[in-house]
Symmetry: C2
Subunit: 131 residues, 2 copies
Amino acid sequence: MAKAAHSMIRVLDEDRAVAFYRDALGLDRIDINRFDGFSLIYLSNAETGFEVELTVNDDRSEPYAHGDGYGHLAVVVDDLDAAHRRMTDLGYGPRDIKDFRKDGRPFARFFFVADPDGYQIEVIQKGGRFS
Amino acid sequence: MAKAAHSMIRVLDEDRAVAFYRDALGLDRIDINRFDGFSLIYLSNAETGFEVELTVNDDRSEPYAHGDGYGHLAVVVDDLDAAHRRMTDLGYGPRDIKDFRKDGRPFARFFFVADPDGYQIEVIQKGGRFS
């Protein structure tokens, strides 16, 4: 049986990406690994055993292409409204909060925000199946 | 502070994807949600609080484009060689096992395998920073 460990995304500017994940989501840089031509940066926090792995390729300068297959990384937070206000104040431009219902009942309350490289992050209010 | 909850990918064939994640990785279908035009399927197991969310869009028939930004989902396993043999026997064609070193010391022992929609999965031997 496999245990999910991390999700890897390629980013252009390490400091810009690290600032977003730290300030907007509370995911800290817990490990830095420099190799010949690239770095692997691991982000996590005490609430989750899962990590985000940032790959920074030293010779890359053009933005990465996102395709239409991969969707997003989702996180849950205790206070969705406070998270939305904080990301607004930080200038990250979160999209509007949505109430998504299934069969007339609440399914998820969430918003999306793009990280500096354009990866979508879904921020979900803790509760129900999202805990 | 945010807790990582799931990673969403769009897949064409629900049964084909569910079979891969179940048989190759031991991630079971724990929740099915049907909506008008699409379904959300959640996969997880007892070892991880993290989920894979499959989005199946009913009107989609052409393969999704992957771009070059998103990298992979990584999982750790207790026995990498056994996992590689099992995925080979299942016909999923895992790539060769690699020993990746940093400053002359072991960093990760792993292989990659593509899921039926072409998403890369990194399977890592448990140990060191991957636990």
